[in-house]
Each structure stands twice: as structure tokens, then as C-alpha cells.
């Protein structure tokens, strides 16, 4: 029943009281969830920033190793080694639940490979190719780890925003409105009680006057 349609009756008062209690309980729970999510966000952003720095360092390192590999083996040699890759690196995507928010949980699959799994022959290549392959495998792992954390931060931020809107709506609109309604119903009911009392007294007086007259 919309708030506007609640009548200033006992049933209406009970309904408003129930709604107010429910709204306050939800507000308390959501406020607690918001605090928890904020704490989780702080932890996650610290880890994300750290991972991001690692990723940037690994990217610089990988660029340098591939520069050395291209210098020593030529772009041709590096591309020939790259053509040898037989198993494409990928990842599995799962989800983990944090305060009711589904955060991504990414697991690298066949990213870090052994010399055998890379597909190129050891006798046709040199150690610079191994270094470049290693550096790019590390970089790919760092990208996946960073994507997992950054995805988590984004989802957590979205959910924090939504929860904050709900908490604010409850705190600034729903609860004050229900409190106001509760007060106004109580006032109206008091007024009606007083009116009844006055009416009864009046009737009593009229009856008493009629009884005095013969």
C-alpha cells in the first residue's frame, strides 16, 4: 500500500510501525554492508595498485627483452619462434562472492610453459628467445591478475554506489517520511480521541439538562 493511501487508523498505525521497523533494520544492515565493502575496497585497491605497478614494470622488462631478442635474432627469428606456439594461452573465469557482490576470479591456463610446451626447437633458437618468451608469459600472468583485481574494484565500486544510494534513500527519505507519517497518524488519532471525549461530554451535558427539565 502506498504511503499516501494509509488511513489514520489503528491498522494504518500498525502498518506504518511495521514498515518503519523494517526500514530501520534494512538501513542498519545496508550501512554495515557498506562499511564492509568500503574496507574490502581499500584492501583491493591497495593490491590493485601494487599489481598495476608490477604489470608496468613487467611490460617495460618484456619490451626490453624482446628488443634484445629482435636485435640478436631479428624480427624474423622472433616471429618464427612465435609461429611455433602450439597451445594458445588462455584463462578460466569463475566468480567469488564478497558481501553479496560477484567478483571475477580468473585462473591462467597454459600461460607459463616449459621449454617443451613452447613448440620451438631448442637447437634452432637461442636463449634470448627463452628470455623473451618468459618475460611475455610473466606479463600475460600479470595482465590476468591485474584484470581480475581491477574488474573486482569496478564491480565493488558499482555495488558500493548502489548500496550508498539505498542507504541514503532510507536514511533521508523513507525513514523520515515513515516517522512523519507515524507522528501524524498518532496526532490525528489523539485529535480524534479528544473530539470523541468532547462529544461524549457534550452529549452527557445535554442528557443531564433534559433530565433536569420536567
Amino acid at each position: 500500500m502506498p504511503v499516501d493511501e494509509i488511513k489514520p487508523t489503528r491498522a494504518g498505525l500498525l502498518l506504518v510501525r511495521r514498515r518503519l521497523a523494517l526500514a530501520e533494520r534494512i538501513h542498519r544492515l545496508l550501512a554495515m554492508k557498506l562499511d564492509g565493502m568500503m574496507l574490502e575496497l581499500v584492501k583491493l585497491t591497495d593490491r590493485t595498485a601494487l599489481r598495476r605497478r608490477e604489470l608496468e614494470e613487467k611490460y617495460t622488462g618484456a619490451r626490453e627483452t624482446v628488443a634484445v631478442a629482435t636485435m640478436m635474432e631479428g624480427a624474423t627469428g622472433v616471429l618464427l619462434a612465435a609461429l611455433s606456439v602450439e597451445i594458445t594461452p588462455t584463462f578460466t573465469a569463475r566468480q567469488k562472492n564478497v558481501f553479496g557482490v560477484c567478483l571475477p576470479d580468473l585462473e591462467p591456463v597454459m600461460v607459463k610453459k616449459t621449454l617443451d610446451q613452447r613448440g620451438y626447437g631448442i637447437l634452432g633458437t637461442s636463449s634470448v628467445i627463452d628470455d623473451a618468451a618468459n618475460a611475455y608469459e610473466d606479463l600475460l600472468e600479470a595482465i590476468i591478475a591485474s584484470a581480475e583485481l581491477e574488474g573486482g574494484v569496478k564491480r565493488l565500486l558499482n555495488d558500493i554506489e548502489r548500496t550508498r544510494r539505498r542507504v541514503n534513500a532510507l536514511e533521508l527519505k523513507v525513514i523520515p517520511e515513515l516517522t512523519e507519517l507515524h507522528r501524524s497518524i498518532e496526532d490525528q488519532r489523539d485529535e480524534m480521541e479528544r473530539q470523541d471525549l468532547v462529544r461524549l461530554r457534550r452529549i452527557k451535558k445535554i442528557k443531564a439538562k433534559r433530565a433536569e427539565k420536567p
Partner: protein
């Protein structure tokens, strides 16, 4: 056929031609000048130089920057090596042919991998360097096949076809190409050692040089295998070690199992690699005090920390090796050695130009690029 101990005139003529060709290669001063140039200036400089001018003009519409330089020097390499094979008589031709098989292996493997992984043919075509026996026409034909079975069948006349046919079973089987490639290179080195056993002029020295190269390659590959987190079995070492070197494969297997410093250093000091390695590091660091023991200690440190060889040291060893080849070729002017010296010098000239172009494209400092130059 020339009498034993008598050098034929065609042999002397060919050796002289190779010596003359060696003098046309870029001198040290040119490298110093190239180091100060930007990529467009290098392109202009090479465009004016005999040996590269035609390739630069032909490719300038298709490529740009460092890629243009790399494609042009690769083309020049292929042409120079084909010419070298054409002018070499008898034993020299056998050696040249065996030496150039390396490029055939790289081309064949690129085509087979490209066919299996459905890589655009033009991209694979750009990676080929037709410097070996397999000419451009056959390479183009190989590129037109849709299955690697057809490509392998078309290679029936190639010397290494039996190895290819024996190692190849299923198209696309995981790891098969790495196995084939390793096997082909093992046969390549065996083939390269064969002319050295024929008793020709300078063949004994050539054999020694090649056996030392095999030792260095084996040691480098052993370090690469040891870097792996999971230890490989001894069968894998057998498959990746090249037979024919001065150090027997059993010694490498013994080294692979050692995890104590004293034992490793004493076994490693017993190999012929240590003096050359020590000399290379002395030259690199300009430290006359650096001893063989220090070199063995350095290798142990890398070995113990499961790290790969230091690239600058690898380059220094290559420089030292080439220096040795140069002095051998001067000592035996009418032998197979000047041919090999020219082929190696040309290979490293191309590698140097490529390193300069690529290093500049990546914005590396000049001192860093200089460490990868072999003079």
C-alpha cells in the same frame, strides 16, 4: 682431381675471391658511423653501398624503417650466399652447401608451421631467407600447399628429407615440430663435420673449430634446460645435445646432475670452453685479472640460480670464436677456412646491421647496442 698435397688453381682462385669478398664487408669505422645515424640515414647510407643498394631500392615501397633494413640485409645475405655457393669448387662447395643448410631448415620449418597454424602465406613468405639449396621457386611451391604432408612430399629431393620423413608422423601433433627441428639441426652439424673429415686443406682446423662451436652450443643449451623449474630427464638432454663436439655428451649429462659448487667448478674447469670464456670476459670487462677459475665460478652462479647465459658474454664468446677463425684462415689462406670465415663474417655483418636498426627502433642507447655487435 688434384693430386694430394697439391692445391688446384681453381681452389686458389676461389679462395682468393672469397678473401677479396671479405674485404668488401663493412669495416669497424662504418659501424661507428652507423651508430651515430638515425634509421632514415642508415637506409640512405645502405642505399648508396654496393651489395645493399639494389635490395633497398626493390623493397622501399613495401617496407619502412628498421623492417626495411632487416628485409634488405636478409635479401643481400641470401644473394651473397647463393653466389658463394656458385663460385666454390669441389670441397669448398660441399662445405658451403652444408653450411647453408641452416637456412633451408629455418625456411622449411617456417613453411610447415605456417601451413599447420593457417598463417597467411604472405606473412610466412616474408620470413623466408632463400640462402640455402632450396631455391625461391621451390619455397613458393611449398607455400602453395594446404597440408604439411604435401609440402614434405615435395621435398623428396632435399638432402635432409629422410630425417624429415622419419620424424614426421602426424600433421599438427603437439611438439612434433620442435622434435623435427632439433633432429634436423643435429643432422646439420653432422653434415657440417663430414667435409672436415675428408682430409682437405685446413679441414683439420675447420673440424676443431666446428667441434668447439658444438661444445659452446651444447653448454648454452644445457644452461637453458637447467633453467626450467621442472628437471628434464636425461633422454631430453640426449635429444637436445649435438654429438661430435670435443666434450662428450656424457660429460654434459654429468654436469646436469651436479648441484654442488666444488664438483661443478672442477668438472667445468676440465672442459675446453673455460679458457675461451675467460678470454671473452677479459675482453668484455677489460679486466686482465679475470681467470679461468673466475669464469667457472661465474657459470656456477648462473647455474645455481637457474639463470640463462648472459647475452653480452655470449656475444663476447662469439667474437672470440670469430677472431680465432680469422687467424686460422690467415694461417691457411688456400683452404676451406677463408670460405667459412667469409660466410661467418657476412652472417654477422647482417646481424650487426639488423641489431643497429632494431636497437635504434626500440630507442636503446648506443652503448647497449654496441654490446651486441660482433666485429
Amino acid at each position: 682431381m688434384p693430386l694430394p698435397g697439391v692445391t688446384s688453381p681453381s681452389f686458389i682462385y676461389a679462395c682468393t675471391r672469397f678473401r677479396v669478398r671479405r674485404t668488401t664487408l663493412l669495416p669497424r669505422e662504418d659501424y661507428l658511423r652507423l651508430m651515430r645515424m638515425s634509421i632514415p640515414e642508415i637506409v640512405t647510407h645502405l642505399g648508396r653501398r654496393e651489395g645493399y643498394a639494389q635490395d633497398i631500392t626493390d623493397l622501399i615501397h613495401d617496407f619502412a624503417g628498421a623492417q626495411l633494413i632487416e628485409e634488405a640485409v636478409n635479401r643481400s645475405l641470401a644473394r651473397s650466399f647463393r653466389n658463394a655457393r656458385a663460385i666454390a669448387p669441389g670441397d669448398l662447395q660441399t662445405l658451403t652447401r652444408e653450411y647453408l643448410t641452416r637456412w633451408d631448415i629455418a625456411n622449411v620449418m617456417a613453411i610447415l608451421r605456417g601451413t599447420v597454424h593457417n598463417i597467411p602465406r604472405q606473412q610466412v613468405h616474408d620470413l623466408l631467407i632463400p640462402a640455402g639449396e632450396i631455391d625461391s621457386a621451390l619455397l613458393d611451391r611449398l607455400l602453395s600447399f594446404t597440408t604439411c604432408g604435401e609440402a614434405i612430399e615435395a621435398l623428396k629431393d632435399w638432402r635432409l628429407y629422410p630425417v624429415l620423413a622419419e620424424s614426421y608422423r602426424v600433421c599438427g601433433e603437439k611438439g612434433v615440430f620442435a622434435r623435427i627441428e632439433n633432429e634436423l639441426y643435429r643432422h646439420y652439424y653432422a653434415g657440417l663435420l663430414d667435409p672436415g673429415r675428408s682430409g682437405c686443406s685446413g679441414c683439420q682446423e675447420l673440424n676443431e673449430y666446428l667441434r668447439f662451436e658444438i661444445d659452446i652450443t651444447n653448454m648454452r643449451n644445457l644452461l637453458r634446460l637447467h633453467c626450467e623449474i621442472e628437471a628434464c630427464d636425461l633422454a631430453a638432454i640426449d635429444q637436445t645435445m649435438i654429438p661430435g663436439g670435443r666434450i662428450p655428451i656424457s660429460r654434459f649429462k654429468q654436469l646436469y646432475g651436479i648441484e654442488t659448487e666444488g664438483e661443478f667448478v672442477s668438472v667445468f674447469l676440465g672442459t675446453d670452453i673455460v679458457p675461451v670464456l675467460a678470454q671473452a670476459i677479459r675482453d668484455l670487462r677489460r679486466d686482465p685479472e679475470f681467470s679461468s677459475f673466475d669464469a667457472a665460478e661465474l657459470v656456477w652462479q648462473r647455474w645455481h640460480q637457474r639463470q640463462r647465459p648472459i647475452h653480452e658474454v655470449e656475444m663476447a664468446v662469439t667474437r672470440s670464436r670469430l677472431h680465432r677463425l680469422e687467424s686460422l684462415s690467415r694461417r691457411h689462406p688456400f683452404s676451406v677456412l677463408p670460405v667459412l670465415a667469409y660466410l661467418e663474417r657476412k652472417k654477422y655483418e647482417v646481424a650487426n646491421l639488423r641489431a643497429i636498426a632494431r636497437g635504434k627502433a626500440f630507442g636503446l642507447p648506443t652503448e647497449r647496442i654496441w654490446q651486441y655487435i660482433v666485429l
